[in-house]
Amino acid sequence: MTTKNTLEIKNLYAGIPAKKIIKNFSLKVNSGEIHVIMGRNGCGKSTLLNVLMGHPKYKTEKGSVLLNKKNILKLSTNEKACEGLFMSFQHPIEIPGVPLTTFLRTAKNTITKKHSSPSDFLKEIKSYAKLLKMTDAEIERSINHGLSGGEKKKSEILQMAILKPKFALLDEIDSGLDIDALKAVASTIKEIFKKTKMGLLIITHYQRILNYITPDFVHIMDDGKIIKSGKETLAHELEKHGYDKYISKK
């Protein structure tokens, strides 16, 4: 059931027309590994994930992104998703009139290239919704319509659970969640992780999620690249001393 996948970002440079944001970023993530990237606001953490998923706003200048040795950098966003990338958005957008269940079933059928019947699919989505402590009302709506920030994050993880990507990129999944929601979200992430041994890349600047999910690697990002890598203990150090110890004052 579990295959060993690798995601290798090599010397990536990217930004918007007026500004370079990602500057020589490199990182390798293997299946079954949990990586956490931490850094100050503006260091490029969210941009990195958006660039990996191919947001049209950003242009990549140099570098490559190899998924199992295949360079996926220039593929379109949906092709990247089909190759096995998934991003949980920091601010998930509302798409009125498009039912979540219909959209998610189409996505699943496209990515897995298998056809699941509406009734089987409904069963699956309801079981994950239960894990995430989501109500029926929350899953029966249009995408993210009328949901609070925290509910939207749960919906993102619900989608991840259904699509079972090779690599999941989670952008500040813990922001906007109260303690109970955070516990539900973290345990669902862990469950999917256990089942599929996917590679996880978590962006955060708080410690909270790390109380529930133990990372294998912690990286500090500044000015568009990784400036220090370590194990779980690096996160504890950050908590004690703050970023100043690692990031030179400008």
């Binding site: 991003m87 958005f89 498009v98 189409t106």
Partner: protein, 472 residues
Amino acid sequence: MTVSRHTKRLINTTFGDYKFGFKSAVNNYFVSHKHLDDTLVKEISDQKKEPSWMTDFRLKSLDIFNRKSLPAWGGNLSRINFNTLHYYIKPQDSTKTVWNKVDPNIKEAFDTLGIREAEKEFLGGLGAQFDSEVVYKSVQDALKEKGVIFDSTDNALREHPEFFKEYFGKIVPANDNKFAALNSAVWSGGTFIYVPKGVHIDLPLQSYFRMNTENMGQFERTLIIADEGSSVHYIEGCTAPIYSSNSLHAAVVEIVAKKNAKVKYTTLQDWAHNIYNLVTKRAFVYENGEMIWVDCNMGSQLTMKYPAIYLLGEGAKGEVHSLAVASKNQHQDAGAKIIHGAPNTSSLVSSKSISKEGGRSSYRGLVKVNKGAKNIKSKISCDALILDDISRSDTYPLMKIDEENVLVAHEAKVSKIGEEELFYLMSRGISEQEASSMIVNGFAEPIIKHLPMEYAIELNRLLELEMTGAVG
């Protein structure tokens, strides 16, 4: 719920997929000459064996038509040539109530369109009009027993003249506009519905209009009277084969919703793109009555249609839900007209339009609050989606307020398919084309949800099909 194959076919062609733009060879029972004059009008009245007051009404209306000028606003009407149209073609001798008696060629046309199956499956009554006459009309026995009348306007005029004396031409008078005058002179076919006091018709009544002859002018006239406390939902669908020359559809719909009555009128318009669709539709709503127009315009070369609601009794309510899709060479000029003529009335207009491939979609609306219409509420929202830089979107919502104690709000937005929305859907593996299609369907959803489910499903599918042309 899965939709049966037969139902799919009916809806598909009610709503149009121009692979079904076929033509039927019919030996017409009577064809009038093309010149629009008193002789023609008298001939029509003669064929229908009408009372003399109707003949007079027609002749007076012809006079008004000749004197009135074309509207100076709206779409381009300059290419309509009134001397090249067939004003009246009677395809068979009379309206049949049993399918087997319908002319075989006409029957074949409607069989291809899957009409009869829909009748069996989910309608309370069905009418079918071919060119100028209603060839088939039937209504469920249970409804007949309750006193419901669902018939062609021609038959109803002969059998229930009292309704016509009271209401015909009173809601839309002949001098309302040039095309109402034309219709008043040469009207033929259309639907008459009378719902007695307290009767609620649960299943929709539907009419299907088909233009078969080239250069045809179709002038159906519909009159719906919902007596106190009653309710009815009427659906009309229209298509025609594709010809290179132009045809004209100038219909008039008059509706009366009496005290506590509720009328819902749904139109699924997908005329071929050589047709001028100029329609005057108006409802008078009395105390605590309710009128809902659901208007979906996908076809025709030019549509000018502004379903109107006159709220004349206290507590009356009106809603207009409008969807317009304008593609290459099309101009949809649609909207709503609401008159608040009594206190404590409320209105809601929701319009969604899509312009693509050079099409032009315009919302033209009026909300008028007369003096004395105190404590009214009106909300109008117009959303336009413009998909490329060769298409056009206009919004012209006029508000005329003469009463201080009101709450009138209007909002309009124009946008394209959002980059963020596309990115989100594509990040879940969905292709750009499919994502655009989902977003467009989501955009139209607030209007589509007012359609019976079978139609909603097909309309979604048709929007998807429309989008395969639009995204490169």
